[in-house]
């Protein structure tokens, strides 16, 4: 009987916070919708994502299909409306495939980094004391190194070419800032009365972390995750540009830029198209992340 009462108290505490959150969410949407930049970014990204998802189906060319009669033709001159590369492959289809791969890797790597970062940060923040100190020491150590160096070392050891290895490697080093943010929030949450109520009612530590700490961290986690996606896409393109990421005949925006840069004198469109698309995508993702942050910032 006492136990049922304790659980009820715990639930009331959690629901009180949830109601708060509902209110905050509706205000958040209103703010986001009123931001011109956010709308521009959202529409642009949606268009790019839809084109990347369904565009290749509508094209009559495959991404690795060679057309020896149309080698390196410029845009708008032949049936290949964005032109072809030095092997006669259709640039438009390769761009769409590359965007798709870049988006998938960016989202997957972000998901990996969110899972590791939230679990690590919430555990450290809630545990506190010596465990927290030791866990954050590891984070500080990793943080004092350039991320990309770690990714390059990982891809060297694991072998390049496999996109799964690539996004696992990128996600595995990308969780550090997330862990820090989550830990700071968890530390301050821990002292709130509803957590004390949950502790007093006998909830176990993993239950408190999973049911009370993590749900209340969602705001900052979403904002940082949104800002992580363009970073991850940038990492992937960076590695592919260096020749350490996605390998032929697959294409990502980075590998297309690499190919384009190699022939920029004779076929500048091979560089301009993927570079422009990547820039547009990164701009959209960054604007959207900034708008989310501004909308969630109570001072704004």
């Amino acid at each position: 009987m006492a136990e049922a009462g304790a659980f009820a108290a715990e639930r009331v505490a959690a629901e009180g916070i949830a109601a708060d959150r509902g209110l905050a969410e509706s205000r958040l949407w209103a703010r986001l919708r009123s931001s011109g930049r956010a709308r521009f970014a959202a529409v642009t990204l949606l268009a790019i994502a839809l084109a990347a998802a369904f565009g290749p189906l509508a094209s009559r060319f495959r991404y690795d299909q060679l057309d020896w009669r149309h080698i390196a033709v410029p845009p708008f001159a032949t049936v290949h409306w964005l032109g072809t590369d030095r092997l006669g492959r259709d640039l438009a289809v390769r761009l769409l495939y590359g965007t798709r791969l870049s988006l998938v890797i960016g989202l997957t790597a972000t998901a990996v980094s969110v899972v590791i970062g939230v679990a690590w940060g919430a555990a450290a923040g809630f545990a506190g004391g010596r465990i927290d100190g030791a866990m954050m020491r590891i984070v500080d150590g990793l943080n004092s190194l350039p991320y990309l160096l770690l990714v390059i070392a990982l891809t060297t050891l694991l072998g390049r070419g496999n996109p799964y290895v690539l996004f696992a490697a990128i996600g595995a080093v990308g969780w550090i800032t997330m862990a820090r943010i989550v830990r700071g929030q968890a530390l301050s949450l821990k002292r709130r009365p509803f957590i004390e109520a949950a502790v007093a009612s006998g909830a176990s530590a993993p239950r408190i972390v999973a049911r009370h700490i993590i749900p209340n961290l969602l705001g900052p986690v979403i904002v940082y995750a949104a800002l992580t996606v363009p970073q991850m896409i940038l990492f992937e393109s960076f590695l592919s540009f260096l020749g350490l990421g996605v390998q032929e005949p697959l294409a990502s925006l980075g590998s297309l830029i690499r190919d384009g840069a190699a022939q920029m004198g004779s076929a500048p469109w091979l560089l301009a198209a993927p570079a422009g698309l990547l820039a547009l995508m990164l701009l959209g993702l960054n604007l959207l992340g900034d708008a989310l942050r501004d909308a969630l910032d109570p001072r704004g």
């Binding site: 500080d140 150590g141 004092s144 190194l145 350039p146 991320y147 990309l148 160096l149 770690l150 390059i152 070392a153 891809t155 060297t156 050891l157 072998g159 390049r160 363009p230 940038l234 393109s237 960076f238 540009f241 260096l242 020749g243 350490l244 980075g254 830029i257 690499r258 384009g260 840069a261 920029m264 004198g265 500048p268 560089l271 570079a275 990547l278 820039a279 547009l280 990164l282 701009l283 960054n286 604007l287």
Partner: protein, 306 residues
């Protein structure tokens, strides 16, 4: 101050040790031995080769030798460049990378900080819009887009600068340095702007103005020093950004620096080379973080005694 410096320096030793240890085991435990490529060797020859490189010793002995070698600046033989030690490749590449990297660092500091100050003082006016505009654009334009674009425009079409290659003159160095400096320049400008704006709202600035001090003195004497603190503590990440940026810039412009050795080493799976570079770049980043910490402590007594 000295105690503070020693404490901070000591704190970076375990990290460096961790990097070195991780590198050693990464090299040893990676799939594929160094003599895998030369297949069909008689077992006796292979055994002799392994003995010559000390690979027949137990792992702890090898680890001890690796550490001893590092203390003497030896990173082991390169697997992809025949008969060459990794340390020799570093010695060849480092002058090139250091020239470009330090120049880019200087350019981004000298241009970025004043740009940020100007933007903060002119908040909402033209200079501010230009500065924040550049910062947003650079976020979306990574070095591997900017570099080839600059090479195409100013190298291939206008012939103002060389599109690639290495020589110690403005023609060859301007574009790589600009490419490398742009992102950190934009970042520093944004950071300086934000932090100066925040400081300018502080009470003691109002006091300084109320005393009737000329605006120039309020900015230079009272606002700037605390405003530059966050910029100083960002020195570590800025150096890290220049180091990773060097990988792109060196491969775009064909500069024979350490960044390019690292990339080629990674493509050829030359473990000793990659790990040597990881240790080198890791140590440089740690040193930059340490320098930033010390500078921060020197500027702000609260950090020292906190």
């Amino acid at each position: 101050m000295i105690a503070f410096a020693l404490r901070r320096a000591a704190a970076s030793v375990p990290t460096l040790f961790l990097i070195v240890t991780a590198s050693f085991f990464a090299i040893r435990l990676a799939p594929g031995g160094p003599f895998e490529a030369s297949q069909g060797l008689p077992p006796s020859v292979e055994a002799n080769l392994e003995a010559a490189y000390g690979l027949d010793q137990p792992l702890p002995v090898q680890y001890g030798r690796y550490l001893a070698g590092l203390l003497h600046g030896r990173f082991g033989p390169s697997l992809s460049v025949r008969d060459v030690e990794v340390s020799e490749l570093i010695a060849r590449g480092l002058p090139v990378s250091a020239t470009v990297g330090l120049a880019a660092l200087a350019v981004s500091l000298i241009a970025g900080i004043p740009l940020g100050i100007g933007a903060a003082l002119q908040q909402g006016r033209l200079l501010d819009h230009v500065a924040t505009g550049i910062a947003v654009l650079v976020l979306a334009l990574p070095g591997f887009v900017v570099g080839p674009a600059l090479a195409l425009a100013f190298g291939v079409h206008l012939h103002w600068f060389a599109a690639g290659g290495w020589a110690l003159d403005v023609r060859h160095l301007a574009l790589p340095i600009l490419t490398l400096a742009l992102p950190t320049l934009a970042y520093l400008a944004r950071l300086t702007r934000g932090s100066l704006l925040e400081v300018l709202r502080a009470d003691y600035i109002r006091t300084a103005r109320a005393k009737g001090l000329p605006e120039r003195q309020v900015i230079l004497r009272h606002a700037l020093r605390p405003a530059l603190l966050p910029v100083v503590s960002f020195l570590g990440p800025v150096v890290a950004a220049v180091l990773t940026g060097s990988l792109v810039v060196e491969s775009v412009f064909g500069l024979p620096g350490t960044g390019r050795y690292l990339v080629e080493g990674a493509i050829d799976r030359d473990y000793p080379l990659v790990m040597g570079m990881v240790i080198l770049y890791g140590a440089l980043t740690l040193a930059a973080n340490l320098a930033a910490d010390l500078l921060h402590g020197w500027l702000d007594p609260r950090v020292r005694h906190g």
